[in-house]
Symmetry: C2
Subunit: 435 residues, 2 copies
């Protein structure tokens, strides 16, 4: 862990830097481009061959059948089922409240403009496989997609070597209302959803996390096909803001929870209290000793930072410049500080609000912008599954109100035919008035 | 113009295809990457050298000074000023109505989740130069940015050979509330805004149209720096839906208005009436003969299509699959059909609602998704200048409500430390209850 006591302002940008692991990008890009070419040419056959090569899985069909999905429910504990259902209900409650009313304004007499939230017809959700079945991610993506009203909610997730998908993943998909499940992973799964194959429908937007091949494939789908993406990817991160009232035990637990995500995830503590900073260092050591995955967590902690600043005003300035994915405000006046947040993915207000709550079940989404992208990007929310379409309706009166403005501007921009399209309507009204 | 009478369904996908002009992409990408490298290394100096090379313009400063902006107001007609002000007022009225109320939900007792629309601190607007000064684009981007509350609204637009920016552009920028104007264009302008230089602030999101170098530069900014973009680019297009009640004169005027945008813009007529289709062909010939830019417009009309389908149900199905940028519904039951639109940028309802109205002054935005991107992307709207940040606050009761769910799910995902972060809080509550 790095400890910085009252660093000079000139050092702040360096302390805000994410030390992302440099990857062999060109090689990844080459492999993924080849996968796209093969899926474009050979469709399902190419996907199945990649699946066999990378996971050893041989399935009769990429599509997961209804009976496989129903069987899954019998293979997980009642306790886990109930937890998945409760989390889904909270996510549904919060995302359902994000439904937008139609906006309608008569801007000038006879000109009514409106805006509606309309679902994206077909979306694709990617859920990584591996040892940890990330069924929480399915709830975070599938529940809002269903509430938005997407007609087809396609999910791709890799099977294990025996050709099976983890039952908790299938159960969560069922609860979330996913309509089409495919046992496929990696770049080939993204390519299949972006391009469409014999059995996989083409989707218009792709959501979800993944390894570097999956991320490169999402980028390539966006670049080649204009497939929309949820957001750019980066390692997960948490920033904790603490004053002298904060419990070092809670801060340490939040740091370790973040460290568990992977060796490149980052935790940052900002505090105006040297005592809390020192106590947190001790608490992290203490709690770490009783946790699994210690080695990986220690790697993550290496590039974590504990920073003492001169005042809470400085703390907020630093936080807004960093634009953290998760921001925990563990102070006495947490609610007031939350009002000063200008850039963050999701904010956890007060000592009882741990990141884990939002990761699983508070109701907010856990798919959030990392790496400073919170300066311009939102986390996944109901809008992520919708377009906003605008409408305008002009009456004859509206033509009269608007024509002079439109015609003057169009002519000044050198667009004569734009002016004429208004003019022919104005003339038609004049003629009909003369009749 | 292509005419298709009752084409078989198998032909529909071909008829929905955009015939975008293939460009020398690799060469463009190479040039733009070099521009980025030079701007990253040499900052303002590189930008000024590119400006001199491409426009011949030599200015003392890239930044447009206050007195240049004030002078501009004296150089355009009172009529144009008034039109710009009226258009800005309509855009402000409609985009102001898009402000979102805070969403707040208590998902379970003691767990309050909320969502707020928060402005992006610094945005960049690109406005092309050339013969037609696109001051309307400044209103469409600058007015919503101001209403959203963006602190810095940076605009880049190239100067002419004498080093001057068109006065109508400066006037519109002043009305829109742009805070920083730079006389620079092309890939170097995008690089300067994405990377930041001595005089140009780094922006988090870039908006606006441009030539292929500008578009490639926006893509590269997104790829290299995670700079957010308004949407992917493509040639402009209009789809007109008409029944037998429609005036061929109006349809033709709308086609020609679209054709004026450039040789690769596309117009499509969908109708169930052969008579209207034939009359439109004749009207286009007639109106074209009295318009400037005829040669370019004829090029655009070459890949425009007039299609007769069997019913209005088929028409709507085709329209939703095509996902047009602009959709004019020129039918007797226009309002009802507008309710069936699932994918479009902006919809013009009824015979009096010409695209020109929305291009300039109805109040809706004219920066819209082309090329079928309306399947997943929205046009520019107030949200485009905001992030949606989520918040959660747990009380001790909230910890009790949520802890079992979070702990079961975290453990099932193999994330022990996530479970602990909840558990330490539960334990602390138990202890304090015992005291």
């Amino acid at each position: 862990m790095e400890i910085h006591i009252l660093p000079e302002r000139g050092l702040w940008p360096g302390l805000s830097r994410r030390d992302a692991v440099a990857e062999a990008h060109e090689e990844t890009a080459r492999i993924v481009a080849e996968v796209f070419d093969n899926v474009a040419t050979y469709g399902d056959k190419a996907v199945r061959e990649y699946e066999k090569k990378f996971t050893g899985a041989v399935r009769e069909s990429l599509r997961v059948a209804e009976d496989e999905i129903y069987e899954a429910a019998g293979m997980i504990t009642a306790e886990l089922k109930e937890s998945i259902e409760k989390a889904a209900a909270n996510i549904a409650a919060f995302h359902g409240a994000q439904k937008m009313h139609r906006v309608e304004v008569e801007t000038v007499p006879g000109v009514v403009c409106s805006q509606r939230q309309v679902p994206i017809d077909t979306v694709g959700l990617y859920v990584p496989g591996g040892n940890s079945p990330l069924f929480s991610t399915i709830l975070m993506l599938g529940v809002p997609a269903r509430i938005a009203g997407c007609r087809r909610v396609v999910m791709a997730t890799p099977a294990d070597a025996t050709g099976k998908v983890h039952p908790a993943i299938l159960y969560a998909a069922q609860i979330a209302g996913v309509t089409d499940i495919y046992a496929m992973g990696g770049a080939q799964a993204i390519a299949a959803m972006a391009l469409g194959t014999e059995s996989v429908p083409r989707v218009y937007k792709i959501f979800g996390p993944g390894n570097r091949f999956v991320m490169e494939a999402k980028q390539l789908a966006c670049y080649r096909r204009g497939t929309a993406l949820d957001m750019p990817a980066g390692p997960s991160e948490v920033m904790v803001i603490a004053d002298k009232t904060a419990s070092a035990e809670f801060i340490a637990a939040d740091f370790l929870s973040q460290a568990e995500h992977g060796p490149d995830s980052q935790s940052i503590l900002l505090t105006d209290s040297r005592e809390v900073l020192d106590a947190t260092v001790n608490e992290i050591e203490r709690q770490l000793s009783s946790l699994p995955r210690r080695e990986m967590m220690q790697k993550s902690l290496e590039h974590s930072r504990l920073i003492q600043l001169g005042s809470m005003a400085e703390v907020m300035e630093f936080a807004n410049a960093y634009a953290p994915e998760h921001l925990i405000i563990n102070t006495a006046d947490a609610e007031a500080l939350a009002g000063e947040v200008r850039s963050a993915g999701s904010v956890f207000i007060g000592q009882w609000s741990t990141e884990s709550a939002g990761d699983y079940a508070s109701g907010t989404n856990h798919t959030l912008p990392t790496s400073g992208y919170a300066t311009a990007y939102s986390g996944v929310n109901l809008d992520s599954f919708c377009k906003k379409i605008t409408y305008q309706r002009l009456t004859p009166e509206g033509v009269e109100s608007l024509a002079p403005t439109v015609m003057v501007m169009a002519k000044a921009e050198g667009l004569e035919a734009h002016s004429r399209a208004m003019e022919v309507r104005k003339e038609a009204l004049k003629k009909s008035a003369l009749c």
